[in-house]
């Protein structure tokens, strides 16, 4: 097959993946409304105002087989919380998750075709970078399910991915081109790939932090109109999962920064020069370093640190799109 054919098939695959993701999003949204219905009927049947999340906490405490909280701080929730829906995920959720897997397979096919067409790794211009980045976001989302059931984030993740992919396909598309001499390095494979890995973890972490903030408000008596939150884990559990996910992202991001510095030393003659992209990578690193410190600071754990995680992810998205497109700098590889 010629380059052009392969590239054309890749485009078809991207649009197919987007369609499947949209369907998955719809199914995840239906799942959320189903959760709302479950939560409301549970609320109605339990006359007492004790909500489901109280039941959740109680059951999770009980499950810890006689463990008691340390006086200084609540015991870390060691086992997955017994969410009311765990074990009997709604049909919508199962459908949605299956669609995500299908969409991801198509998405990966699109990536591979693009890579074959170009004869190199498919992350050398902005369109390809978004394509790879979103595939990794979904990959991280799927990977995390092996450890923890966070399928309730499905609507959030599929929405972000569809929006980014749509934006990239419509606005950033460039035909397959040769590799700019500055990009001809093994570091392209490592540095950019690890950066997108970090982005994937930050995306899931950001979603968990948003859920945590909402859950905190609900636990304090607000957000009665969002009943599906009652079926989510308690805010403290969400916070702990978010933290685990974000520190993995942070480790990747630290590596990205260093690999980038080594590469910059090879290509531009200095390992750090405050180029706009470098500045934003630094800002993101410092923000998440702040997040990790905030979680260890009395008075900052909880909602405040969650805000930092969300700001950090917003900065990642800003770096991903606005800085790439509108800021002048050496990382001018959008191909646009």
């Amino acid at each position: 097959m010629t380059t052009a054919t392969l590239a054309a098939y890749s485009v078809v695959a991207v649009y197919s993946a987007m369609t499947v993701y949209v369907l998955a999003f719809v199914a995840f949204a239906l799942d959320l409304s189903k959760r709302s219905a479950i939560a409301q009927s549970a609320l109605a049947s339990a006359k007492a105002p004790a909500s489901l999340s109280l039941a959740t906490t109680a059951s999770s405490r009980a499950e810890k087989a006689g463990s008691t909280a340390v006086i200084d701080k609540p015991a870390p929730p060691a086992q997955p919380t017994a969410s009311p829906t765990a074990g009997r995920a709604s049909r919508f959720q199962r459908t949605a998750y299956a669609l995500v897997i299908v969409g991801w397979t198509v998405h990966l096919t699109a990536l591979i075709l693009r890579g074959l067409a170009a004869g190199r790794v498919p992350w050398a211009d902005l369109y390809e970078f978004v394509m790879t980045g979103t595939a990794i976001m979904i990959g991280v989302f799927i990977f995390i399910q092996l450890w923890r059931d966070v399928k309730f984030l499905g609507a959030y993740i599929t929405a972000i991915v569809v929006l980014l992919l749509g934006l990239a396909s419509v606005n950033f598309y460039v035909p397959v081109g040769p590799l700019n001499p500055a990009l001809q390095s093994a570091w392209l494979v490592i540095h950019v790939f690890v950066a997108t890995l970090g982005t994937g973890f930050f995306a899931v972490g950001g979603g968990l932090s948003i859920a945590q903030l909402l859950q905190t408000r609900r636990e304090m008596g607000g957000l009665a109109r969002v009943p599906f939150l009652a079926t989510f884990p308690a805010s403290e559990v969400l916070e702990n999962i978010a933290y685990r996910v974000i520190v993995v992202g942070f480790a990747f991001w630290t590596f990205t920064l260093m690999a980038g510095a080594i590469w910059a030393e090879r290509a531009w003659g200095r390992y750090w020069g405050w180029d706009t992209k470098e500045v934003w990578t630094f800002i993101i690193w410092v923000t998440f370093a702040g997040y990790i410190h905030a979680r260890a600071t009395r008075g900052w754990r909880g909602s405040r640190s969650a805000w930092l995680a969300i700001i950090g992810f917003a900065a990642v998205m800003f770096n991903f799109t606005v800085v790439n497109l509108f800021f002048k700098g050496l990382h001018a590889y959008t191909g646009l």
Partner: protein
């Protein structure tokens, strides 16, 4: 291993106090809150009291956090306006376009944001805070590394993963088994009366300290050691040799501590330059740039080397990088008698991807007046009313569109006589008169290779004799990269240890039953820092320990271990 008792008696040091180890600032989530702060116990602060108060504030978690956030925020403006360090031309353009806002922003130091006093203040405070935090922690950790795990708490029920089982094995055997089991699992073990106290994951705090110390090391490397380096740029035309002395650079930026003697003696010569382009998507895209250089150190002979964008040439501890490239038309200027007054290649800087290039030729001496030529060179030209535009980066071989050099001619004062440095690639037209070219009565010069033309007013003639290539190189001497890399690896390694090694204490206690009653064994753990898998680890430990005990008193079919309470 030293069995010295724990000397630093922290409050509530029964092994369950979270503040005991690792040491943390008082507002750390694991720290001991000190509500009785200096302000309460000392109503009237003396100087020392104030100093201590400020020091405590500076080294607190909250201050470090605020400073971190300020650092992130403070870096934002530096990405919004061009920086002198990374984009000097952008700064000049900004000044030309917005002279008023430029003055305000410049007074705030925004054009060199990352060396500005306010940005420096943030990171210096942050690092002072960091040093103030890690020194006591380092001391504490070194003590902890030599100390025994603390005494088993009297009551384990309150702790994480508390499990209690009964067994027919006697207490002494159970404790001995527990000890060897924990040892095998990498715990540091201490036996107390009828119990085992164990701790593992010291690497977590070690990693954390390495991470933070390496950050300080990185700052010192870049900030202090980096000042011994220098950087300079030079345009090198084919055949031309460069000697590494300051006067041979086109531009040179010394580091704060670098001197003339920091320049390693060597020579560079550009032998040839080979670019490769690919035609794709309606345009030419660069595929590969290869500059073939010869280098020589004193006493040595010329060695051939290839310089590419991603592979610098190293010579005498100094790196040479390929920055740009272009065409250098070779011209000869003669006076009316035919005496050569100027001859050689002149680098024309490329303006676009197809190497439409612009340049200036200055002839200060030898003609009746000072003369300058300004114009364009196009390797594959298309002619437009304002000059040529190139449509390919390759030199055209098509007889209908041969490479062309289009020049306007100026006479007057070139400004070269005052000894002031003047940009060789630009023309200050203030004291010059245009005598040929666009918007004058005389048409400009349109030269192909081999052409020559008479200059207006009988000044002389110019001949376009050939086309050379040039490259622009960046020459760096930076003593820091090896150290920066070392610290970077320490930062990354320390970070991974501090984030992913769990630090925990576990206890196994055997309480002998009275008379014929079975022995009761208790298990519990305590997290030191984030440790989400602690409860599971204690449960697994309990299970494994019981399996071992079952193995020990295998032979009699006595009663199986009684269920959990």
């Amino acid at each position: 291993m030293a069995s010295r008792p724990r000397s630093s008696a922290t409050p509530r040091d029964d092994g369950t106090s979270a503040a005991a180890d690792p040491l943390r600032p008082s507002d750390h989530i694991d720290g001991t809150p000190d509500d009785a702060g200096a302000g309460v116990t000392q109503p009237r602060l003396k100087l020392v009291g104030y100093l201590r108060f400020f020091w405590r504030q500076l080294t607190s978690m909250r201050t470090a956090l605020i400073l971190l956030l300020l650092l992130a925020l403070g870096a934002v403006p530096g990405s919004l306006v061009p920086q002198r360090s990374s984009d000097p031309n952008g700064v000049v353009a900004y000044q030309a376009n917005n002279p008023d806002t430029f003055k305000i922003l410049d007074s705030l130091g925004l054009f060199s944001a990352f060396t500005s006093p306010w940005f420096s203040a943030i990171y210096l405070l942050l690092f002072i805070s960091l040093v103030g935090c890690i020194i006591p922690r380092l001391k504490h950790h070194l003590d902890a590394l030599r100390a025994q795990p603390p005494k088993t708490p009297a009551r384990l029920e309150r702790l994480v993963g508390f499990t209690s089982v009964t067994t027919t094995t006697d207490a002494a055997t159970a404790v001995a088994e527990a000890r060897s089991l924990l040892r095998r699992q990498g715990y540091r073990v201490a036996s107390y009366d009828g119990s085992v106290s164990a701790e593992r994951g010291y690497l977590r705090e070690t990693g954390n300290l390495i991470f933070h110390i390496a950050l300080v090391g990185m700052l010192l490397t870049v900030g202090v050691f980096g000042s011994y380096g220098y950087t300079g740029q030079r345009i090198l035309v084919q055949g031309e040799a460069f000697t590494n002395v300051i006067s041979d650079y086109d531009s040179f930026e010394p580091g704060r501590f670098s001197t003339e003697s920091s320049l390693q003696p060597f020579q560079l010569r550009l032998d040839s330059f080979q670019p490769t382009y690919q035609f794709q998507n309606g345009g030419w895209a660069p595929e590969d740039f290869a500059a073939h250089l010869s280098t020589r150190v004193p006493g040595g002979s010329w060695t051939e080397q290839t310089l590419k964008v991603n592979s610098p040439v190293e010579i005498g501890g100094t790196q040479v990088y390929l920055l740009g490239n272009g065409f250098a038309p070779v011209v000869t200027v003669k006076d009316p008698n035919g005496t050569v007054v100027y001859a050689g290649p002149v680098a024309f800087l490329s303006q676009d991807g197809n190497l439409t290039s612009s340049g200036v030729i200055k002839v200060p001496d030898g003609l009746a007046k000072q003369v300058a030529f300004q114009g364009f060179f196009c390797p594959t030209p298309v002619t437009t009313p304002t000059g040529c535009v190139s449509i390919s980066p390759y030199l055209s071989k098509d007889a209908k569109a041969l490479p062309v050099l289009q020049l306007s001619v100026f006479t007057g004062d070139l400004g070269l006589d005052k000894g002031v440095a003047v940009n060789a690639y630009a023309l200050n037209e203030d004291k010059l008169t245009k005598i040929a070219g666009f918007r004058t009565d005389v048409p400009g010069l349109d030269l192909h290779v081999g052409d020559s033309a008479e200059l207006p007013n009988g000044l002389g003639s110019i001949e376009f004799t050939g086309i050379d290539r040039f490259v622009s190189v960046d020459i760096h001497h930076d003593p820091t990269p090896a150290y920066a890399l070392l610290f970077a690896m320490l930062i990354l390694g320390g970070l991974l240890l501090s984030l992913f090694v769990p630090r925990r204490r576990v206890w196994i206690k055997a309480i002998p039953g009275r008379g014929k009653q079975p022995t009761r064994i208790e298990y519990a753990g305590l997290a030191r820092g984030e440790d989400p898998t602690l409860a599971r680890a204690v449960a697994e430990l309990a299970q494994r320990h019981q399996q071992h005990l079952d193995g020990v008193r295998d032979s009699p079919p006595g009663e199986p271990p009684v269920g959990r309470t």
